[in-house]
Symmetry: D2
Subunit: 340 residues, 4 copies
């Protein structure tokens, strides 16, 4: 940390601040500028010195934190891109992976119909919600374990892998049994107890960005998962909350190059939740790839107008087909491999 | 819901939209304006018709939802103020309640020292974190059950009630045993599984507003708790995330009159987390009361400079004493009862 | 407007509301739903009835505005894409136009050097600031008229067109003399007096989105310009202000398909200001095109490390060359014509 | 500025960064920590070194700016509170000033009626808009010079002072003639050309905070006005734009203690625009005072239901009377003088 003193403070005020810091077991480096004196704080295990305590010392102008709190997820720790596999599909490096499926698992027939069509298009990872985080207690909450069973059965039939969202620790055994990749939703990005438990699993985790999470916070949540030993993490930008309400969220595509510079983990986007409207999904999916994303997750429903949930942001399999063709063409330009 | 058609759409486009709605089991009321035709959608159990599906129909300009999704928490359902008690302290109606204590339980001595001083000042509700939601996996995570035991022991000694934050469903039995009021933190405001479990308890719940939660979403989360039978809920505004980073959060004091108009539940504020800086806590606590708040939660530490967590936003017992005196004087002006 | 009454209001409360509206010269259409009664308000010249006045009437739950306030800029008014020309370069329809140049005009040599290189790459529109909006009164404020003269001279030499930012009404005669397109910056997007004056010009206007402007507000500002007769407007998304500070702004690429649905005007992006960092410009420029943008504005400096302003977000001509090649390849996929 | 190098960078990378800085005429102070090496940058006239240029140097982790760009408005420059007078009313120090009046000047009768009532209540400063910044070109734009004449005439009759909003440089002579204090609206907070002109006036300026302006940017705009010699500035918090749309804006009351720590200038609030709803104005006005504000500006209309503009957020004179009584009582508690 760097402690910046006010312009023109007395020497003994500076000395008192230095003593305060040293008394807590830290070393100090002082540098006097023309205007401000800056005290560098070194050693001692930085998390026990709250920057705001220093800010309240007499004569202190501001306190600046330097060391990023995340380590394992940073590119400094591991300069090379991490490639994460869900089944056979690769995310990261020069691979662009695709995940598709309906918002919710509604019935065996629905999933079978959708998976058959997706599989024909070459999609290798099937998504579907069995436990749904719904704002209202009165809305459809998902089929639960039955939903996971359907997902597994259908995925096996078409040789696909399964991604589904986990909501709480108690569901882990179920997810270990049925799915290939556990999704952590935006609302649970800082459910730290859940993250800690996921850190002990041997399965990849898809970690969505919280509605108002900074990049630093998002990467810290990934750090929770890595700190327990699980290194298979895919980050997923799904839109942040801003003043603009014409779209459901504001898909922050600049997250892609920013996060790729800070971390070795793959980053994909979810244009379906990021925009909330079907006719905005294709433009944002293509834009994600052009911005360098490592993959995309898309809501697809064989009959969107009958979907129990989020049909309005779901593509039909036919629309997906057209989109994947365009995505394939752009991928070539951008140096990404894609199987379509 | 109201479906607003585009200017100048053909009659058969309107008829198609009406048919689409009626086919899903809803009634329609059509009203032709000078510019726009509006279709009112009535009946049928509104949650099964996604407004965005309607938005994608040909000729539709926009779809407007009317019925608020919350019922039990609304003032229409219950016009009279709800008064919630934590121990002997009342929140709501013309009562202004005070909760105080350190961010984290650190040791028996710390809690005993703090509680003794708070108790002398007349504070009747003690707060303290035993399980801490920390952004970093490497930061102090709380004493766990031992922390709850300390809280209970000290509170009993000074005849106080206890509030502490719960992090996950598995901790409920512990909280039932040791605390008088369970706090749900901002990061868990939409942890719906947790909310559902809390709805079956017989103890009051303090529900903090999420960092980027709208009033509607906040009240919906309260609705989750009420929908299972628990009617003792205190809402707590603790600052929202905005572009301004000079304060830790932006304490949205207008939440007080807005929520009081929409709901019968008591609403308090947490100026310690809302500002993040000790010298901003007193102005915001007084402002909360002047805006009509039903109480306040304050971080107090007998030695803030030694606190393991958030000392920078903690008041000393002496500072609290001065603040309570001012609060008491303002309460008189605002028609609120306070015991100080 | 639609006036939604509270659940269970008495009939005479509804009648009073209706009378209030009719007394102000409006017609009413009443529709009774299961839960809410809705009063449609028609005619009378809607701008004289403030929705908030209605909200404060007894028994009113909420008031909903329907008619968009903009008319001339809307796709309903003119369904076909507007194509705007700056010199020979076209923006809109299936044209993807490119504007490039330094943040500030610094000297004849700098502009000549830059323009020569841009011109060789095929760029036909040169940008450069002569009057600079600077947050600090102590920062470089631009060369003023001399800057405009340099721009004109250099552009003529290389057969290019000129875009530059206007700051106030008094500068209009200068801009009429020297530039081909007047840029209105984000901070002036709601400088209504300036917009009104620009509405009488015969030159195209490049209207940037304000830092916290909604799409509706942005289009209303364009409406100001069109309402006086100037129909040559290019909209430019340049990033909005959000809680995330890792990037200078959050470039909202979903603005592209959203605005293209609402309006016939061309929309381009400014990834240099939108991200603030050179290494993020190329990914965001490519993403803009993939999302359907009608063009892009890029900061280019022949020696970014010596730029007086915003060098950190400027590309070198060599970097631009690489970017334009990739942009050209993606344009083919997206059905856009580009000359590179 | 402080340049923080990446963990584990080679020594010659550090040397290159140092050389880059020194070549631009700055001195460097190097401090080696356990993890990061930090280069302090001193001297040389900081505004010519863009932090982002340094960020793009090889091996650089981040660049931190220290010196605040504002000088004259800072408390370091002038530790004592500035007291600004509009007519006889004082703002700042231990004075709490009140400004009241309608949104727009509509007619002589309206202003005379309102001013008579305000004057009886003891209000000494009359506000009213003659030139209105309206989002729509089709909305009422104000009476212009006639409005200013009415304001002056009525104010003189009741021995009041006048505040009105200026929109552009060309209006300055009119404002010099008719008003006592010139208001700069939120949309013009960064209209730097206008600010520069106002810096040469001898009349106080009321500077509203922009919709998405940080405290730093707001104070920099005040610095523009002070830098030309005008030291009579009143800052006015009027709500910022956030994701919450239930209120027109989010009134950021913590701005009061934050700005009062950074600057010697008085700060007041505008709860009418800050909330947009009449029944929220009184709670927020009282809360402003309790938070330490130096005054308040309130919209009052003798017949709000007939106002041409913003009647929904206007108080009646009777409501103002009740509010002022409560405000007076709270002022006593908060150590502020108020005449009511």
């Amino acid at each position: 940390m760097l402690v910046v003193m006010n312009q023109g403070v007395a020497d003994n005020t500076i000395e008192k601040a230095i003593k305060y810091i040293q008394d807590r077991g830290f070393e100090t480096h002082v540098s006097k500028g023309e205007v401000h004196t800056v005290i560098g704080v070194v050693g001692g295990g930085a998390q026990h010195l709250d920057r705001r305590d220093l800010e309240l010392l007499s004569g202190v102008k501001e306190v600046i934190k330097i060391t990023s709190s995340y380590k394992l997820v940073s590119r400094i720790f591991k300069p090379k891109d991490t490639v994460v596999k869900i089944g056979e599909e690769k995310f990261g490096g020069n691979n662009f992976g695709v995940i598709a499926g309906p918002c919710s698992v509604e019935s065996y027939e629905q999933m079978d119909e959708t998976a058959k069509k997706l599989s024909k298009l070459g999609v290798k990872v099937l998504r579907g919600g069995a436990f749904k985080p719904r704002t209202s207690p009165y809305a459809f909450q998902g089929l639960g374990e039955e939903g996971l069973q359907i997902l597994r059965k259908v995925a096996d039939k078409y040789n696909m892998a399964v991604v589904s969202e986990i909501m709480e620790i108690g569901q882990i055994p179920l997810f270990e049994k049925y799915v290939d990749c556990l999704q952590v939703g935006a609302r649970n990005m800082q459910n730290f107890n859940l993250l800690k438990e996921l850190s002990h699993l041997k399965k990849p985790v898809l970690l969505k960005r919280g509605l108002s999470a900074t990049f630093e916070e998002w990467l810290m949540s990934a750090e929770y998962i890595m700190s327990g030993g699980n290194r298979q993490i895919i980050l997923c930008e799904r839109g942040i909350r801003t003043f603009e309400t014409a779209t459901r969220n504001t898909l922050d595509l600049c997250a892609i190059p920013v996060v790729q510079k800070l971390s070795h983990l793959p980053i994909i986007t979810d244009p379906s939740h990021g925009t909330g409207l079907r006719d905005k999904v294709a433009p944002m999916a293509k834009a994600s790839l052009a911005a360098g994303a490592d993959g995309v997750m898309l809501e697809v429903h064989h009959k969107p107008e009958c979907a129990l949930c989020d049909g309005a942001q779901s593509l039909t399999p036919e629309q997906l087909k057209g989109l994947l063709k365009e995505v394939g063409a752009i991928a070539g330009v951008c140096g990404k491999k894609i199987i379509f």
